[in-house]
Structures are given as C-alpha cells and as structure tokens.
Amino acid sequence: MIRDITIGQYYQTKSVIHDLDPRVKLMGTLVFIISLFLGKNVWLYLGATAFLAMVIGLSRVPLKFIIKGLRAVVVLILFSTVFNLFLTEGEVVLTIWKLQITKEGIYTAAFMVVRLMYLIVGSSLMTFTTTPNHLTDGLEKGLGFLKIIKVPVHEIAMMMSIALRFIPILIEETDKIMKAQMARGADFDNGGLIKKAKAMVPILVPLIISAFRRANELAMAMEARCYHGSEGRTKMKPLKYKKNDYIAYIVMFAYLAGMIAIKVLRPGMI
C-alpha cells in the first residue's frame, strides 16, 4: 500500500510536455496554482479542469497513475470536506442532530475537494514529466537571480533532487522494516490512535538511522566523483528555450488572463 505513493516520481514516456523546458513547467505549475486560488466560482473551476485535462492529455501520463497519487491524501480531503460541510454558516438545507448543513457549506466543500485534488495533480504532473535532475536545473537557472543576495541556489536545488531520488528507496525501506517488525509480532493495524502512533516508533528509528547512513555514503560517493558545488560545473543537458517553450508560455498566460476575466465578469459562485 505504501508503494502506491506516486507523488514526486518520474513517469518515463515521450510527450510534448516531457520535452518542455523545466522552467516553463515550473512557471506553469505556479500559474495553475494561482489560478486555483482566484476565487470560488464554478466557471473558474471548469476553466481549470479544461486546462488540466489538456495538459494531462498532452503529457500521456495514464490517468490511473495520476489518480493513484491522490490516494495518499484521501484523509486530508475527507477532513476538509467534513469541516467545510458542517461549519459554514448560511442557508440551512439539512439538520442532523445538532449539525447543520448549509447550501454555502456544500459549495465550499465541493470547491475545496476539487481545489485540493487539482493542487496535487497539478504539481505532481510536473514531477511526473520532469526528471529530478532537469527540475534541479530549472530551479537553479530560473532562480539564479537569487545568487546575488547570497542564496545558495545550486545547493538547495541539488538537495531537492537527491531528496526526490531517495523517496522511492526510503518507501521501499519503510515497507521492509514494517514487515520485519511484523514478523517479530508488531501490530500496526489494531488499537487506538495513540497506540498506532506508538507502533510507528520502531519503524521510524531504524528508518532515520539508515537514512543518515545512506546520506553519509552518498556524500562520500559524490565527493569521490569530484562534486564540489556549482563552481566550474558544466551541464550535460543545458537549458535552452525552444519553439514549443514559447508557445507554452503563451498558452499559459492566455489561460491566466482568461481565468482573471472570468473572475471579473462573474463575481458570484455560479
């Protein structure tokens, strides 16, 4: 079950989206996130849905694979739905015992679910279609201007990409440790919240120790291969904007402009 987490993984295939410059994809993700927070309006969400559907279609990442990534956040989504449903004030539609469901509550809950799901799908689409190394390059170049104020952009980007590479390895390790502890009689499924939380300790301790050991070995392997920061480093795949990248920028900003127009023209919820 723990292997189902697909957030942060790379999905290998050939597509227009995969070939885009990582800076374009980073910007696109940002634009998409901003557009989701423009307001609560059905038309806005329809617009976002259309845009997302288009990108998913172009990326050729199977829908099943994307939806698998959502499973990890089901609890979060349920939480926000319940709270929004019962705690929003407004026109009462239904009363169960002391709890009231309002019309506004239903709308807000629905919007929140969609917003959360789109946020996750939108940002995981970026990692599905961009190799971590590429992503690092994009961040490094896109945020390069921060170097002037002494932000270690390269180092931060490198750390991020390594973290991403180790996600599947650490997940596999968690699985292994869980099985090893289960074989010794550990029980992760029964008991209350506190008991379950306590049961996590024998998983986390070995996991953290082994993560440190891995980090140490990896650092040594990187040093052995002459890694010494960004100074004097060349790129195997240097970033260069191509025709498609400019087109993507145009599409992206047309989308944002369209969304803002909707927001201005239709201020209500529907």
Binding site: M220, R225, C226, H228, R233, T234, M236
Partner: protein, 283 residues
C-alpha cells in the same frame, strides 16, 4: 613511480568517550608500503575489519593518512590543490549500488562525474555513450536506476567512473551485495576495461574466486599487508589463508587436500581444468 604508491601509510581512528577524552586508538591501516604499476589488475583481500576499505579511501583522498604518504600518479594526496585531479585520476566505486547513484536516469548518472570536472557538453555526451558501451549498458541509458538489478546498477556506477577517464579505478567490495550472476557480470566488465582500455584496477574483495585472474594479490590483516604475490603464489599457502580467516577457491582446496593425502599433483591449482588435467596424468 607507479600509478599508486604508499609509503609507511598509517591511519588511526581515535575513539573518544562522552567528555572527549581519548578512550583508545584503533589502527586501521598499519605501516603499509605498496606500489601499483599502471595497467595492473590488483586485488586486495582481507576479512571484515582488516583495514582494506580504509586503505582504498586513502587512494581517493577521501581519508588523509595519520602518518606516511600516498601518491597517485605522482601527486601527494595531502596536497589540497590536487584533490580534484587525484579523484579524477583514481575513481572509486563503492559497495552499495543504491547509495552511490545520484541521478534518476542512467545517462544523467554517468554524466554526473564529467559535469563536475567541467567537461564541455558535447564531450559529455560522447563520453557517456562510450562508457555505457564499455560496460554493456547502452540499452538502459534512458531507464531509471531504481528499476535495474544490482549487477546492472554496479555496472552503471562503473560507467560513471569510466566517463571521467581515470587511469585507475578502485572498487571497494563492489560485488558484496550482488547475486552470483551479478558478481560475474561486474568482474567480467572490470577485466575488459583492464585489457582494452589499460585502466589500472584495484579490486577490494573477500571473494576468492574474483582474484584468480588478477596480476597481483595483496592480503591484509589487522591493517598490515601480510601476503603479496601472484594468485598462484598466494593460493599455495592454504593453511596460512585459513588462519587469516579467508577461504580458498573450492578447486584449490580440493587439490590441496588431495596433495596432502599423498597424490602427486602441483600446488596452487586455481582452475577446474588444471585439476582434471593433473589428475588424468596420474591415471
């Protein structure tokens, strides 16, 4: 001077208690003076804790000697300005394939080293193609390292070092975590590199089968080099190897026992064919 030379190399781990007082000193490498010539295939044998890994890290300037010196291609590892040149001359492959792969694509992984030493973009691509070819992993250049078998991962790690065009490759128990077929793959690739590209190979291992084809073998115990010679010379001394907690290849042991039982066969037999031939002579 050979490609790697050490003189009176000593390395001590200092153990401290909680108050930073010296509790004891472990001598991991003890007064080792060796010289490897360019193009040689060197094997270093020793059981766990014999100091062979610490010795290997000295050649790559990852560890500095407590006493004595190490020269790689004439450069002293204590010279701070030469560290990058040394690491480029003597590349190192580690034991755990998962913990030394940095990138998520095989070709990017192989290109990581050349990127670090500032090779121009086009040349990186050439080197990556060539190195992957040399280890027979061209087919997997666009795969994720997570999806490869242990032997394949180790071959990618070797390609990553080969792409830096080192004169010498040091491998610290590269096969310890592999299955037998993965082990064979890696050793075959190493011999090919040694023969075709004339790369000096320093293989650190505790599997006897892997050192049979080496040019010279060093046996380490408690930080010291206790035996040195060709594989045949080393494996003649079955009893001594056993006292060092090392096994000999099965064939060698069988031949040794047969000889001890009174058969007149030569000592230091390494191959099945040799044993069969010498046994047939007796009939």
């Amino acid at each position: 001077m050979g490609i790697v030379k050490t003189e009176n190399l000593t390395f001590e781990y200092i153990r401290r208690d909680e108050n930073d007082n010296v509790e004891g000193i472990n001598t991991a490498v003890d007064n080792v003076s060796v010289e490897f010539k360019e193009g040689e295939f060197i094997a270093i044998l020793g059981h766990n804790g014999s100091g062979k890994s610490t010795f290997a890290k000295h050649i790559n300037a990852l560890v500095m000697p407590t006493e004595g010196s190490v020269w790689v291609d004439g450069m002293d590892t204590k010279d701070d300005d030469k560290v990058l040149d040394i690491r480029q001359t003597a590349g190192m492959v580690f034991q755990n394939p998962d913990n030394q792969i940095i990138c998520t694509l095989v070709e990017e992984e192989v290109g990581f080293g050349p990127e670090n030493i500032g090779v121009p973009t086009e040349e990186i691509w050439e080197r990556v193609a060539k190195s992957l070819e040399a280890v027979g992993m061209t087919k997997f250049r666009n795969a994720s390292p997570n999806k490869l078998s242990g032997g394949q991962k180790q071959r990618v790690a070797i390609a990553g070092i080969v792409a830096m065009k080192p004169k010498c490759i040091i491998l610290d128990e590269p096969t310890a975590m592999l299955d037998p077929s993965g082990r064979k793959e890696v050793i075959r690739v190493l011999h090919e590199l040694n023969e075709k590209e004339h790369v000096t190979v320093v293989l650190i291992t505790h599997y006897m089968e892997e050192v049979i084809d080496a040019d010279r073998v060093f046996v380490m115990d408690a930080g010291k080099v206790v035996m040195e010679g060709t594989p045949r010379q080393i494996f003649t001394e079955v009893e001594r190897l056993k006292s060092l907690r090392l096994d000999v290849p099965q064939v060698t042991e069988l031949a040794y026992e047969l000889k001890k039982a009174g058969l007149s066969i030569p000592s230091g037999i390494l191959m099945k064919e040799e044993l069969t031939a010498s046994l047939l002579k007796l009939v």
